[in-house]
């Protein structure tokens, strides 16, 4: 319980997340994955709006790792590529993702309510 609270406090320090970081964390939320698979998932989820070119992709993974948001794993036993590194979310990473999701949700709520209030005036 204490640990979770400390994580939440640390997580707040990472907000707001850059879109690229958010999407990478989101891609890893489902379980461990490698760089290229992360790229494909981000691209299909954003319908091509965010394309992760290699240097940004691996650079971001490095940053997230050194910030302690993700961890490298040994990966599946059978891998088709010896180069591949596999990553999963760390506890901190999970907290950061949750906190960012809450922040975005609050923003969306706020935005919706403002628009519905201002709508009649538009005519």
């Amino acid at each position: 319980m204490v640990r979770a609270g400390a994580d939440a406090a640390r997580a707040a320090g990472f907000l707001p997340l850059k879109p690229v970081r958010f999407h990478v964390l989101l891609a890893l939320a489902a379980g461990e994955s490698h760089g290229y698979a992360i790229r494909q998932e981000v691209e299909s989820r954003t319908e091509g709006a965010i394309r992760l070119w290699p240097t940004t992709l691996y650079g971001t993974l490095s940053e997230l790792e050194s910030d302690g948001l993700i961890e490298e794993t040994s990966g599946p036993r059978v891998s088709d590529d010896v180069h591949r590194r596999y990553y999963r979310l760390s506890g901190l990473g999970r907290s950061v993702l949750a906190a960012e999701t809450d922040r975005l949700a609050a923003l969306v709520r706020e935005s919706r309510s403002r628009q519905s209030r201002s709508r009649p005036r538009e005519v």
């Binding site: 691996y58 490095s62 940053e63 050194s66």
Partner: protein, 900 residues
């Protein structure tokens, strides 16, 4: 994997070397293999274009991450190390990572707006390209030191006359005496300036070839300090009258004819039938022709004896000296004046004494200096227009940017930081422009170095060297700072707070920034106007030069150098040989007329004394340009005979000597009298004037003819085999005429080199080449400036119109007609353009005086040119303004009102 994908992957992999080792070790292989899959997908989805797009995007992505990755690597390495070190280190580190962040941010912005980035790079690139190219052309002439040892000590010593080559060259006895009596020169030397009168035919392997060789004094290359590429200099036995034949090959000739064989030194070649030893090859850095006699070509150097025999030839030597250390040109001049006074006192009858000392570089740059400076000024004007244009674009973006700046500033970014950000952005644009500019300059320089027909010195040595690249870099940085100035000033004045308050939609652009932008456009217009007026005046001068009455008709005429190596026993043999030659050529089908001369117009020149029998000339003997011709020459050139008769076959060595004068000579020698039948003294002999011919522009198209005299070559043979130029007039197409004449010449004299022919039109063309060279470059600059100024005015008005759509909507809703809206905007355009033209014309009126020396037949304040260029500018501006005006008048008032 397809070859295309493999190539793209390789390029991407190579770029990884820009990233820190830490990244490469950890992610390099995976990153490259990820790119390979992306590249394959792109190729199969959208073909090569898709592949290229992927490569460009991935490369830009990599480049934009370079600073961040290096920062991360440094932090990882020095994580405990910097903790204990001093504040300065930490601040430096902070600065570095801050700049890295700014660079990354700038790159990201540019990537997001590729259209803007490309447009800006092109604009800046044109300016930088123009300046870099001009710098490289003027660099060998005015900036780079001459390719000699301590070139600042080298001087040119000419004679003091005006006119032909004879009046600026010296007798070899002058050189001997100057050498002996001077106190300021370390050494004095020279070359035979009339080398073009003689020529050499190389026989041996391949076709006989006519070559040009220049005689040099024994120590000529040592005085200049030209190190040999291979071999040795001329020795004493080779440098005396009738000495052993030897030759020094120029680098070009050595490469062209002998495939750069290193064993040529020591070999013997056959020149004019005599075995000649090749003693040396010149280095490629020393191009004799391009340095001393531009637009000619020289194949080898020969020893030129400084002896009594060559002294008898009169003024023939071009002198070069090396001053003692610390001696100035003025001191050397005073010294030679003293020597000349002494020599004249010792021998009052001595003629041809005189010396004018100029720095060698000044001599070589000579008349071209002003043209080069003009081009430099024009290039600078283009640069200013380009900068103004880009500033304008940046300012237009500034409105959106100023909101971003306001937000960043509100979030705590220091003003210094924002300024750095903006500066780095404009530097980034300028660097991209620099790359384009270097490419543009590279193309121009390549074209310039290829031209051999332009008689501007050192043009062939123009190249893209370190100095040129450094210049390009310097001008790029200056441009970056200059164009960034306007947006930076905007932030500096604290406009971000105001921007924050502004409502993003309804506010129109503030008056101040509109004024700045319109002022920039007016400035562009003014600069374009100056360039247009300048090139307009040069164009009119050029046309005037083309209209000049040459005194002969060049079109339809081809000239050949005909040099026979055949020795002649006597004058009859000599005359018979050339009679047979001209008769054979005139019998060819399609040939209308044939003539011979030793000095065709716009080529060689020399002067001989001439006086009227029984007249004294206390103010000095008059002189005239002699032309040795045959009896068909005047007709072949279509030089009109004003009175008297042509030469006849009976005018031979045995008969009375006869001469035809031109009108200027006849007027000068016999003012108010009839010259026909009178006797003149030329080279100590009596000649009867039998005809008066029309004047010919012989020295330059811009110069009126001097006194000329035509002498029949049949009466002047002094032994040897003098070189002639054969002039053939024919209506035949050039290739068939050339083939026919060459065939006939070879039949007559198999050892004659027949490749050296030129149409007289080409000769005229070469004479106007420096004028055209300057004109083409300046015209190009003016056109570029006009285009940029038009783009500038278009951009400003488009932007203003887009800002005023709501206002226009209101006006139209209140009943203003579309035509009136259009007219209002075009009027605004014309107002700006007119202001630019007025300022530009005023500047031009002040500046065109500097052009005076390059104008011909046109006044610097030529109203036609000024009027035409002002009209051109106004028309182009009206067109540039009409497009946004049409868009504005098409505004739908209802939509515009709803929008607001």
């Amino acid at each position: 994997m397809s070859d295309r994908v493999r190539l793209a992957v390789r390029v991407f992999a190579v770029l990884h070397w820009l990233l820190p080792a830490r990244y490469r070790r950890r992610h390099g292989a995976e990153s490259v293999s990820a790119f390979e899959r992306m590249a394959q997908e792109s190729l199969s989805r959208s073909g090569t274009a898709g592949l290229v797009r992927s490569l460009v995007s991935a490369s830009l992505d990599l480049l934009s991450r370079v600073p961040a990755e290096h920062g991360a690597a440094r932090r990882a390495e020095s994580i405990g190390a910097t903790r204990g070190s001093g504040g300065l280190m930490r601040r430096m580190d902070g600065l570095r990572s801050g700049i890295a962040q700014d660079v990354r941010y700038a790159l990201r912005r540019l990537r997001r707006e590729p259209g803007f980035a490309i447009f800006a790079a092109l604009i800046i690139g044109l300016g930088i390209g123009a300046n870099t190219a001009v710098f490289s052309v003027m660099s060998p002439l005015l900036i780079r030191s001459l390719p000699f040892r301590e070139p600042e000590r080298l001087v040119w010593v000419s004679n003091v006359g005006r006119g032909g080559l004879s009046s600026v060259t010296s007798r070899t006895s002058n050189l001997r005496d100057f050498r002996e009596l001077n106190r300021t020169f370390e050494s004095l030397t020279g070359y035979f300036a009339f080398f073009d009168y003689g020529s050499y035919t190389l026989v041996g392997t391949g076709e006989p070839e006519r070559l040009v060789g220049v005689g040099i004094a024994q120590d000529f290359l040592d005085v200049l300090g030209v190190a040999p590429r291979l071999g040795r200099g001329f020795v004493d036995e080779e440098s005396v009258w009738g000495g052993r034949a030897a030759a020094i090959l120029t680098h070009d000739f050595w490469v062209r004819r002998f495939n750069a064989r290193p064993d040529m030194v020591g070999q013997s070649i056959t020149l004019n039938g005599a075995p000649t030893e090749v003693v040396r090859v010149l280095p490629s850095t020393f191009d004799f022709a391009s340095t001393f006699t531009p637009a000619s070509h020289i194949d080898f150097l020969l020893p030129f004896p400084i002896s009594d025999e060559t002294d008898n030839w009169g003024n023939t030597l071009a002198m070069v000296g090396r001053l003692r250390p610390g001696v100035t040109v003025a001191e050397a001049q005073a010294d030679l004046d003293r020597v000349i006074t002494q020599l004249q006192r010792d021998d009052p009858n001595r003629w041809g004494l005189g010396a004018r000392v100029t720095g060698l570089r000044d001599h070589i740059a000579g008349e071209h200096r002003s043209a080069m400076l003009l081009l430099a000024a024009a290039a600078a004007a283009v640069m200013l227009v380009a900068c103004a244009n880009l500033s304008n674009l940046l300012l237009a973006r500034g409105r959106t940017r100023s909101k971003e700046m306001a937000v960043r500033s509100a979030l705590g970014a220091e003003r210094r930081r924002l300024l750095r950000q903006l500066t780095i952005e404009s530097l980034g644009l300028a660097l991209a422009g620099g790359v384009v500019g270097v490419a543009v300059a590279w193309l121009i320089i390549g074209a310039v170095a290829q031209t051999s027909s332009v008689s501007i010195p050192m043009l062939r040595t123009v190249s893209m060297d370190g100095a040129v690249l450094l210049f390009a870099l310097g001008i790029t940085l200056v441009t970056g700072l200059l164009t960034g100035l306007a947006p930076v000033l905007q932030v500096w004045r604290g406009r971000e707070a105001a921007a924050m308050r502004e409502n993003s939609r309804s506010v129109t652009e503030s008056r101040r920034s509109t004024t700045i932008r319109e002022a920039l456009v007016v400035g562009e217009m003014a600069a374009a106007c100056v360039l247009l007026v300048g090139s307009g005046l040069l164009i009119r001068s050029f046309l005037r030069v083309l209209e000049v009455d040459l005194g002969y008709t060049p079109s339809g005429t081809v000239s050949w150098r005909v040099d026979t190596t055949r020795p002649f026993e006597n004058a009859q043999g000599h005359v018979a040989y050339y009679d047979a030659l001209t008769r054979r050529i005139s019998e060819l089908p399609g040939v209308e007329s044939v003539g011979l001369t030793d000095a065709p117009p716009l080529g060689r020149n020399r002067q001989w004394g001439i006086r009227v029998l029984g007249v004294d000339y206390p103010d000095g003997q008059p002189s005239a340009f002699p032309r040795l011709v045959d009896r068909g020459y005047l007709e072949a050139m279509q030089i009109p005979l004003r009175s008297g008769r042509h030469f006849l076959p009976s005018d031979n060595a045995a008969s009375r000597k006869v001469v035809i004068l031109n009108q200027t000579a006849a007027r000068a020698l016999f003012p108010g009298q009839d010259a026909l039948g009178r006797t003149v003294i030329i080279i100590g002999q009596e000649w009867e004037v039998i005809g008066i011919a029309g004047d010919v522009r012989h020295q330059a198209l811009e110069e009126a003819s001097g006194s000329e005299m035509y002498l029949p070559f049949t009466q002047l043979w002094e032994g040897g085999s003098p070189a002639f130029t054969l002039v053939v007039r024919s209506g035949l197409p050039l290739p068939s005429l050339v083939a026919n004449v060459r065939g006939a010449l070879r039949e007559l004299d198999p050892s004659m080199a027949t490749g050296d022919h030129q149409t007289l039109d080409a000769v005229v063309d070469q004479a106007i080449s420096p004028r055209r060279f300057v004109l083409v470059i300046l015209g190009g600059f003016a056109a570029t400036a006009l285009l940029l100024a038009a783009l500038g005015i278009y951009a400003v008005l488009s932007y203003t119109v887009s800002q005023r759509i709501p206002e226009i909507g209101v006006r139209m809703a209140l009943g203003e007609s579309a035509a009136h809206v259009r007219w209002r905007i075009v009027r605004r355009t014309l107002g700006l353009a007119l202001l630019g033209v007025v300022i530009g014309a005023t500047l031009s009126a002040a500046l065109t005086r500097l052009l005076q020396s390059m104008l011909f037949g046109v006044a610097p304040a030529d109203p036609v040119t000024f009027g035409a260029m002002a009209a051109l500018l106004l028309v182009v501006s009206a067109i540039a303004g009409f497009l946004p005006a049409r868009r504005a008048s098409a505004t739908d008032p209802v939509a515009a009102l709803r929008f607001s």
